[in-house]
Every structure is written in C-alpha cells, then in structure tokens.
C-alpha cells in the first residue's frame, strides 16, 4: 500500500512539514495541531519527522474503545464525533505518531491522498509511494547514521 516513508539522512529538521500540516488542516500555523512532529537532536545534528505509517496492524485502531479510529480510503482516519480523548491510541502507537489536541486524537490522514508534507519537504526526506511496512524508529535511524557518519554524542 502507499505510505509515507522517511529518509532521515536527508531531513534538515526545518519543521516546514509541521507548518504545512497544521495549515492544511486548520488554516492556522501551530506545531500542536500538526499530525507530523519532527524529533530533533541538536547535539548530533540529527532530525526525524514522525507521523502515522499506516501500519497493517495499527494498535491504536485496535485499542480505541469507541471505534473512532478506522481505515478508510487508503488511510487511517479519526472520527472526532466518536473520539472521547481517552488517549489509549497515544499509548499504543509504536512510533509516537498520535497526539491529543483539545481532547481529540490527531493522526495523519494523508491529506486525502496528496500529503502536503511530502509535497513541500525542501530536501526530499519524505516519500509517498507503494512501500512495505515501514518499521524504522528515529532511534534506529539515529544509531545507523551515527555509525555511518562517525558521529558520537
């Protein structure tokens, strides 16, 4: 299936994805309402954008007590009418890709099939295409790049 994948070696940590995401969904700019969050390590100079990977087993979907999280039209969706803000999804996501804002779960909806973070990433660190399960964590990526580049904290 089509999913967003990350090339951490290319991410410049500019967080334009956060701005574009929040603007697309709310017409305002705020990291708090962005469905993507960039993890930054200034000591190592490494950065990693975290967002929903559309995992086939989606633990948050399974954990949601009100069935607010579903898979529709090629992406995970959150029904805010049904969401009670219990945070079970936040706990269950393996990639810290779910956050609560104003008592509602925020998850990437792939912008209806044209993810704006991918379109606007200035370094091509994000890709949206047919891809197998994407299971790399930021910490995996940081360890790999530290080794590859000879960078040690």
């Amino acid at each position: 299936m089509k999913r967003i994948t990350v090339d951490a070696g290319k991410c410049a940590g500019c967080r334009q994805c956060e701005m574009v995401c929040s603007f697309h969904h709310t017409k305002r700019f705020s990291p708090e309402t962005s469905r993507v969050t960039v993890i930054k390590d200034d000591s190592l100079g490494l950065d990693y954008p975290l967002m929903c990977r559309q995992c086939s087993d989606c633990p948050p979907l399974k954990a949601c007590p009100t069935q607010a999280i579903n898979r529709e039209g090629g992406s995970i969706t959150v029904d805010w009418q049904a969401c009670i803000g219990c945070g079970a999804c936040v706990e269950e996501c393996r990639y810290d890709a779910v956050e609560l804002h104003d008592g509602k779960a925020l998850m990437c909806d792939l912008c209806g099939g044209d993810p704006q973070c991918v379109a606007r990433c200035p370094t091509g660190a994000l890709d949206y295409s047919e891809s197998p399960e994407f299971t790399e964590t930021p910490w995996d990526a940081f360890d790999r790049l530290k080794e590859e580049w000879g960078i040690h904290g």
Binding site: S30, G45, H152
Partner: protein, 626 residues
C-alpha cells in the same frame, strides 16, 4: 481597531529583581512604524535605556524581539533580534539568530520579551505560554552552552522546549559573550550573552502551545508557494545548499579581499585548503536548516579519521571559517573547526576572538609583544595550539586571556601599544571582508549603528561590478563597482533601509535580501497578506530609515559623532600589494559626505537634523540632540 494578524500583539516584561512579570500590548502604530524584531527592539531600547546606563548594571535591559512572519510557513521566517546596550562597545548592542527559538516565542504568545533588573541568584527562565518560572540554575553555573541545553531539556522533560543560552565566558564577564539558540545558532555580536549573565540569568527556555494566524490564508499560501519556487530555481540555490556562506571564502580570495594575517593581505595562499568546497567534499554529511526554511544551508560535518576523529558539529559559516583560517594564517582546517566548536561551547563571539587573536599575532610577529607577556604562548601566524589555549584563557579570564577578554581596543589600551593595528570600528572587531576591495562595505562598517559590521548594510550589489545596475538603481554607475568610492552613500543608504525592514520582519537576510527576493514592493504585499496592515512600499522604506536613524540617535545620545564613523588607518592609507583589490585605499570622507546628505544628517557632526527626525516621526528624539 481591526484585528491584526501575524503579530501576537503582546510583550512579556520580566522583572528579574523582584521575580515578577506582566504582559503589555504592542499597538498598531508601533507595528506600522517599526515593523517587528529589530525595529521593536530599537524603539524600546531607546525609550527605556538612557544615556550613561552601565551595560552590565541592572539598569540595562535585554530585549528579544521577533517579527510578524515568524511562526508561519513563510520561507526562512525563523529569526529573532536580541538587543541591549552593549558591554563590548558601550553603544547600541544588537544581534540576530535563526533556529527554532523565535517561532516558539510566537507560539507562546509574544513578539517581544524584555528582561530587566538583576536576579538575586543564578536562574533560568522557563516561559510556558502565559506562565513564567524563575528556576534555580546553580547546577548550570559555568557549564557550556551544550551542557546547559541538555540539562534544561532533561529537567523540563520536554524535547520541544527552545532555549537561548549564555556560556561560561559570559559568566566570567568576557565582554563579547554571545547568546546561542539550538546550541550553535549564535546571536553573538555585541556581547548580548554577557548582558544576560550580568543579570544572573543563564538561559531563557520557551515553550508555546498556541498558533499564528494570517490575514488572508489562501493568498498567503499562493505567495509562499511562489517564493519557494523562486528559491529552488535561483542560481545561488545549489551553491548555498552545498556550502552555505562558506562558498564566499574562495570568491573573496579570488577578488583579493579575503582578510589574511589580520588584514595585512587580501589573498591567502592556502585558501583552497580551508575552503567551503573542501569542507563540503571531505567533511559534510547532511544539511540542516532553521525553522520553515526552503533552502536549509547549514551543514553537519564529521571528522572521521586522524587526530580529530569524532569531532563533529554544525556549520561553520564563512565568518567563523575565515576567522580561524586566513585571518590568523592557519591552513589546518580541522584545527579551525575545533576552535569554532570551542567558541560555541564556551559561548564566545568568533569574530571578536579572531579580532583579538589576529591583532595579538600581528603584534607578536612584529616584535611588539613578547612570550613573557603572553604567558609563554608563541603567537606566531598559524599556531593553532596557541589559539586553542588562548580561547580557553579568554573564556576563563586567565593570564593573557584576561587582557583580550574586553576586546582589542581595551587590550591595546592595557598594553599601551598596538592601537593602530586593531581592526575595529567603535570597538567592535570587523568581519571577514577587506573594505579596500569593497568600498561600500567599508562605508557600511564606518556608519553601522552597532559598530564595525556588515549586516546593517551588506551592499552586495557592488560585487556585481556592473555599472548598468548602478545607473539604473542609484543613478550613479560607480555605485555598483566594488573598487569605486562614488555613489556609495546612496547604495549604503538603500541597503541599510532594506536590511532594517528584513531584520524587523525576521526572515533570513541571506535569502530574502542577498537573493533579491523581497524588494520593498513585495515586502509591502507580504505584510498586508500576513497581517492585514497596509504599509505602502514607500512607507516600508521610510520605516527602514526610521529604524536606522533611531539606532543612530542611540549612539548620538551616548556622545558619538562623525569622528567615530571611522575605519582602521590601514584601509584609508595603505593599499594592498597583491591580488585583485590591490593598489587602492578607501576614500571614507567622500563616501561619508554623500551618505549623510542622502540620510538628511548634518555633514559636520554626523547627527540627524531636527527636520529629518521630525519627517521620520522621531520628533521625540530631537531633545536628545547635543
């Protein structure tokens, strides 16, 4: 009043003495008149820090300001200015940095944060939206910038908190201690870190959960998309992505204005060994960027083998790279990287360190400074072991480092010799471009409100050496010829106004000005779409002139006049003897006459006239004229 977007419209005022704080409104007249960041700071500093205030006393104020575009997706809008009376120069102090601190200020709800008074004990401030905590910082006393950053993020348990930190050098009272955001984003000129340390504040940590809204979202998006495309298609795009500003080093060398051995030459014979090209090919591993940047030009480097194996960091930019290579006759790139890293950790301004060390090396080589006086350090050109030692000594104010810790002018006074070899204006050590090869830059250094520095004007168009541009834009063909003196008053006047506007809206000057992307007409359009405020291109230019003139008045109030708008004697009297800028000196008087006339300032005194002050809406400053 109609709603204004973009700005938060709020200022946070923190009284350190009583550990109290309050918010104040920033009104629409201030927004129109002073635009944001640098302009807001200039006005507040002028209003609140009068003549004679001790820069390191509780009467000084440290002001952080950012602009209306910051905290949106506007390309490169990420910067803040931090301003206070400078302990390095005794006049207007101000520095600017990018990274992620400024947008966090906006998300927390502030365009400006003012720190005043002095804390009874060492603290760091934690600003979380509308709440301020004065937190004990005794565990961070004497700690490096990097250590302090890690400490606060751990203690606050929030990886999204953004910090601005002063290093141990500032705590020791070194007068050119900087402030550092994201560890290496340095607002390091004019000693703003030293001011923060004097207030018993180690750091400012900010976290905001709010948002920024623009007046016309669809139109704003259209403008942003167009700008992003223009940046990617620009001829400078690939060079900047690959090398950042370090691409300048080889260009400067070829044009013969690369400061070499404390400006004794404009050509460095080993330039290719310390170039941005070499850094990119052998050391860089990835790009990094400031917030919302379309052209993330910072680079992470890593030294993978040899004695410096494991050394890594971000940057450097051209000024730092040149400072510890050609400026001091050093061809060892890795030692330069190490020295820059050390300055970042200790919280020192690289240009000021290089100004002091370059000066001391010149004296030493000339036999006017002995190893006895330096505590055994052999300050020969290129001796980087001595450089590294000296950086530590400066930060600790120990031995010969103590002599250099107050700046090159104070050092020359203390030694009783070498003043003619200091390369500074108004006490601030110059940047890395020899004005004999860039006459407009020379004028810019001489008149800059914060002392010897290019970022107030940076009239890069003279690098074009194209008389047609000069004729078209300024009516003087020579104005855009780098070795000519004529027309430079008009050129610098224009660029000063433009930079004041860009610095106040707070996108990146490297991109928006040097790549010619935001002329006055477009700034006007952007501001209206973002904020809803209509400020015409003419009013925009006038706001720039207002900011420049008010900063000038800050200096005038402290006693400055035309005689202080000077340049080191070697630039005015001794031509360079090799390279593409040889055989010419700077005719400063000619350029100053032109400049004052363009500005409407008095040619004899260099003071703005009462009429000019009134015309710019600065009537309140007339009473401060001598």
């Amino acid at each position: 009043m109609a709603r204004v977007y973009g700005y938060t419209g709020s200022l946070l005022r923190v009284d350190l003495t009583d550990q109290a704080y309050r918010t104040e409104r920033i009104n629409e007249a201030e927004m129109r008149g002073y635009l944001g960041g640098r302009g807001f700071n200039a006005k507040r500093l002028y209003d609140e820090v009068g003549a004679g205030v001790d820069p390191l006393g509780p009467g000084n104020k440290l002001i952080f300001g950012t602009g209306p575009l910051v905290g949106t997706m506007f390309p490169t809008a990420s910067r803040f200015n931090v301003s206070a009376k400078s302990p390095h120069t005794g006049i207007f102090g101000d520095s600017n940095a990018g990274g992620h601190f400024a947008p966090e200020m906006k998300f927390a709800g502030y365009d400006q944060i003012v720190l005043e008074g002095r804390s009874p004990s060492l603290v760091y401030l934690y600003v979380k939206d509308d709440h301020v905590e004065f937190r004990d910082a005794s565990a961070m006393k004497g700690r490096t910038v990097f250590e302090a950053d890690g400490f606060m993020k751990g203690e606050l348990g929030d990886r999204r908190v953004q910090t601005v930190i002063c290093g141990p050098a500032a705590e020791k009272g070194v007068r050119y201690g900087g402030l550092f955001a994201n560890q290496v984003r340095a607002a390091s000129r004019t000693g703003m870190g030293t001011v923060m340390a004097s207030k018993n504040v180690k750091a400012l940590a900010v976290r905001g959960t709010g948002h920024v809204e623009v007046a016309e979202p669809e139109e704003f998006e259209r403008l942003v998309l167009k700008l992003e495309r223009e940046i990617r298609e620009h001829e400078q795009y690939s060079g900047r992505m690959r090398m950042g500003t370090t691409r300048i080093l080889m260009m400067a060398n070829e044009a013969g204005f690369l400061p070499t051995r404390n400006y004794m030459s404009g050509v460095y014979e080993h330039a290719s060994m310390v170039s941005g090209e070499r850094l990119a090919e052998e050391y860089n591993v990835k790009n990094r960027g400031c917030f919302a940047c379309t052209i993330p030009c910072s680079r992470v480097y890593s030294v993978r083998e040899g004695p410096h194996r494991g050394l890594h960091g971000e940057g450097p930019e051209y000024e730092a790279l040149g400072s510890f290579t050609s400026r001091i006759g050093n061809d060892d790139l890795e030692q330069a990287l190490k020295a820059i890293d050390l300055c970042n950790q200790l919280g020192l301004d690289v240009l000021s360190v290089a100004g002091c060390v370059g000066w001391a090396m010149e004296l030493y080589e000339a036999g006017q400074l002995t190893a006895e006086e330096t505590g055994g350090l052999e300050l020969t050109w290129g001796n980087t072991e001595a450089l590294l030692k000296l950086i530590q000594l400066i930060a600790e104010r120990e031995g010969f480092g103590d002599v250099l810790a107050d700046g090159s002018v104070e050092a020359a006074e203390r030694l009783g010799r070498g003043m003619d070899r200091t390369i500074q204006v108004k006490g601030m050590d110059l940047i890395m471009a020899d004005p004999r090869g860039l006459k407009g830059f020379g004028l810019g250094y001489a008149v800059a409100s914060r002392g010897g520095d290019h970022l107030r004007s940076e009239p890069f168009l003279e690098l074009s050496d194209d008389p047609e541009i000069g004729e078209r834009m300024f009516g003087v063909p020579e104005s855009t010829m780098r070795l000519a003196d004529r027309g430079k008053g008009r050129l610098v006047n224009y660029f000063e106004d433009w930079n004041a506007v860009i610095d106040s809206l707070e996108p990146c000057k490297n991109i928006m000005q040097n790549m010619m992307l935001l002329p006055f007409e477009r700034v006007s359009e952007v501001l209206e779409v973002a904020t809803g405020l209509r400020v015409t291109p003419e009013e925009m230019r006038e706001a720039g002139a207002r900011i420049v003139t008010l900063e000038r008045m800050f200096g005038v109030r402290e006693g400055l006049s035309r005689a202080d708008d000077s340049l080191p004697s070697r630039f005015r009297e001794s031509p360079l003897d090799e390279g593409a800028s040889s055989g010419t000196v700077v005719d400063l008087d000619l350029m100053l006459d032109e400049y004052y006339a363009e500005r409407g300032w008095d040619a004899a005194t260099g003071h703005p006239t009462p009429g000019t002050l009134q015309r710019l809406g600065l009537g309140f400053a007339v009473a401060d004229l001598p």
